[in-house]
Each structure stands twice: as C-alpha cells, then as structure tokens.
C-alpha cells in the first residue's frame, strides 16, 4: 500500500494503518531497533512502542515520508530505552560508531554556544552536498547504526570501500564545519 493511503488510514483512525505499517516498515524498524538495543526481544518491544507513538502522532503529523518518519520514531524510542537501560546494566556499545564522529564534531567544553539544532542543520546541508554513495553510507552507519559489513552487503561494496567512504566523509565534514567557524 502506498504511504499516502496508509497515512489516510491513520487519519481515519483505522487500525489497519498499524497492520500496513508493520507489513511495509516493520522489518526496517525492527532492524534499526535491534542495531541500537542489541536484543531481538527488546527490539520487538520497542517496535510495539513505535506503533503506539505513530498512532498518537498521526494526525496531527502528516509525514512526507512514512518510512523516514517511522524510522525517526524508532530511533528515538530505541535510544530512549537504551539510555534508561544504560543507567542500569546494559552497555551502550552499539553507539560506538558515533565515537568516530566525536573527533570531528565540536566539544561542548570548547564551543558551548553551538546549538544542537544549528549543528544538525549544518550536517544535513553537508549530507545533501555529498554523492549519493557517500550520503547513504554515512546515514546507514551513523543514523541507522548498521555495521560496516551490513552496509557493504547492502550496496555490494567491499568493506574497505565503506570504511574509506566514511573516513573521507568525516574529514570533509570536519573541513565544512571549520569553514563555518566550528572547529573542535
């Protein structure tokens, strides 16, 4: 079913919206949640929370892309759950890929004036200027938390190519931020 039709089901408060969302984007959300939480059972529970959140959010929200919207909700829900669990016993090891970005993004102790929204806007603009290859690999690694191996398999690249694309993207991002007066 097309996204627009599924969104119309949400707006009509038809529970079929959840079945259609599960059929179309369930695997994507489950995979993303599993990448973050590292547990199939926790991912399943997280995805159930996602459907509830989507049901509550649409309407009034009317997303342009249901896929991106559902993935965004999944990511937020999973990270929220991870942080809650990390306060207890779970390790946040799945966030290790982000430590690669820590070297290119400004340290808050040096640049407390840089707001998250401003930085997100700059990174978003940077990504739009990248080649489709570089952009997709960056997004799969740092937004979807895919492993290098999974990204390589997804696009038919060698793992080396994926690593190199990420390496070069990070360097270009650092250079772009410097040009904007934001350096680490």
């Amino acid at each position: 079913m097309e996204d627009e039709a599924i969104i119309q089901l949400y707006i009509a408060r038809d529970e079929g919206a959840l079945r259609e969302t599960e059929a179309k984007y369930g695997p994507l959300c489950r995979q993303l949640a599993n990448n973050i939480l590292g547990s199939a059972q926790d991912a399943e529970e997280c995805v159930n929370d996602v459907y509830l959140a989507l049901w509550d959010a649409i309407p009034p929200a009317r997303p342009r892309s249901l896929k991106a919207f559902a993935a965004g909700v999944t990511r937020r829900q999973a990270l929220k759950r991870l942080r809650h669990d990390a306060a207890g016993k779970r390790s946040a090891g799945c966030l290790v890929p982000l430590s690669e970005l820590a070297e290119v993004l400004p340290d808050e102790s040096f640049r407390p004036d840089v707001k998250d929204e401003e930085l997100a806007q700059l990174i978003g603009r940077f990504l739009k200027e990248q080649s489709p290859e570089a952009r997709c690999v960056f997004v799969r690694r740092y937004w979807y938390f895919d492993s290098v191996r999974d990204i390589a398999g997804r696009y038919g690249f060698s793992e080396n190519k994926v690593k190199s694309l990420l390496f070069r993207s990070r360097n270009r991002l650092r250079d772009d931020l410097r040009k904007e007066g934001i350096s680490i």
């Binding site: 991106a68 965004g72 966030l95 993004l105 997100a120 489709p132 690593k163 390496f167």
Partner: protein, 271 residues
C-alpha cells in the same frame, strides 16, 4: 563531543535524508589480490574518494574474534594519478593486449581479462618495461627470485594501475617488495589491507628514513608458523612502496636492518 549528544544531534537532521537509498547490491569493484605469504594475505583495493593530504594512515586494525574470522589491518594510501602517457616503456602495448583479453574472455576463464600479468627475472627489467620516470629502483644486495608485473586495465583496455612484486630472500628473512602506482584512469586512492586467518595483533611504528621519507610499519605478533611479519609502507613521488617480510624471531635484527636499508633508498621530493 560526547556520544549521547551526537546521537541527539543526528536525530535532528532532516528526516527526508534518511529516506534516500541506493539501488541494493551494486556491483562492487573486485579486490586485487597481489601478495600472499606466511598465512598473511595483503590486498590493495581502489576506492572512489577524492584526494586530500598525502601519505598513509592506519584506518583500522582488528583481531580474530573482534569482527569475524580474520585478524588484520587497513591502511589508506593516497597515491598520485599519473598520466597514462607518462608510462613510456613497452607497457604501452598493454592496452591492446587487455582489449584482446576482454574480447576473448569466457565465463570459465581463470584469469581476469582486465589484468595483464607478466613475469621478469629482475625488478630492473620490470621497471624498464613500465618506463615511468618517477619509479625508484631498489638497489640492495639481496637475492631476487623474480618480479611479477600486473597491469590493471579499464573497460577499454586503458591502464588504470600497475603493481610490481619482487620476491627476495636474505638469510632467514623472506621478502616481497611491492610497488603500486595508479594512473589518471583509476579514479581511486587505495586501501592496503592485510589479513591473517589466525589471531594476530599488529603494532604500528613510524620512522623517518635517511632520505626523509616517512616509513609506516605494521608488525605482527608471532604467527602459528613461528614467523613474525612486518609491512613497511612508503609513499615516494606519489607511488606506494611496500616491503613485506616474514622472519623467525631469531632473525628480527636482520629483518629490521633490511627494512631500514630498503627505506633509506627513497628520497623525499615533490612532484
């Protein structure tokens, strides 16, 4: 910036960007296996990235169990794309030979039709065949047992990159001296990968050789065979030179001396 905040910042990026996707499973370029010795496999892979800066950089090293069934490391090397016309030796016959290989290729061919391979008795003969002014001959008193030249071509036979591997033996040290250059037809820098099928750790060392070139060395722990290996990497005039050695711990001093003798022959220069 700390990791939780990075996660938050990325979560604020325009979600439409997360919708972008490439066609799945585009055909990737094949890795080129150039060298194998003492259970350690070395692979050079071209990558399509823009070039900035110079030299080699360790991208990652890992041990068996960290990421799968292999230990290894990856080094990024920025090479200089030479004009194909700068290759003035008999290598200029190769595009036609590769085109013929491409025409005659069959699905059951063992050899990749884009690769032209030729062996020489000495490294000097291989260098003469290539005829690139910037290539540096290695002059040292070690016994060469042959040089394998591999020319990698594009779809029209144009020369994309060239590899020369010279096998040497000096006492208890087995050596492979490799030279890798790329042309304007290979829009790619290279990642040099070493892989071992057993649990091996690598230590990274750097030193400046007598000629001023930086030598980047990755040295393995002792393999199950009892051998230790090192790979010394130098970029000189935009060409990657690698010396791979396998030796027993008792020959470590000799292996190190050979590494320095090899490295000292490259002189820092700008093109």
């Amino acid at each position: 910036m700390n990791v939780p905040r990075i996660a938050d910042v990325l979560g604020l990026i325009d979600e439409d960007l997360m919708d972008a996707e490439l066609p799945k499973k585009q055909r990737g370029r094949a890795a080129r296996i150039l060298l194998a010795a003492a259970c350690v496999c070395l692979v050079l892979v071209p990558v399509t990235v823009a070039a900035t800066g110079a030299g080699t950089m360790l991208l990652e090293k890992f041990r068996k169990g960290d990421q799968g069934s292999e230990s290894g490391y990856d080094i990024y090397a920025q090479l200089t794309p030479f004009p194909e016309q700068a290759l003035t030796g008999e290598i200029r016959e190769v595009p036609a030979l590769i085109r013929r290989q491409l025409e005659e290729a069959t699905p059951w061919s063992n050899q990749h039709p884009n690769v032209y391979i030729r062996t020489f008795n000495t490294a000097a003969q291989a260098l003469e065949y290539v005829g690139l002014e910037e290539l540096r001959p290695i002059r040292w008193n070690v016994e060469e047992t042959g040089t394998t030249l591999s020319v990698y071509g594009g779809q029209q036979g144009e020369i994309a990159s060239v590899s020369m591997i010279t096998q040497c033996q000096e006492g208890d040290v087995r050596l492979q001296a490799e030279t890798w250059l790329r042309t304007e037809n290979d829009g790619a820098d290279a990642i040099f990968s070493a892989r071992a099928t057993e649990d091996v750790d690598y230590t990274e060392e750097k030193f400046t050789a007598a000629g001023g070139c930086a030598c980047h060395v990755l040295r393995s722990t002792t393999l199950e065979s009892g051998f230790v290996t090192y790979d010394g990497h130098i970029i000189c005039a935009g060409i990657l030179y690698t010396l791979h050695a396998a030796y027993t711990p008792s020959a470590a001093a000799q292996a190190d001396e050979l590494l320095h003798t090899w490295a000292d022959q490259f002189e820092l220069e700008t093109r």
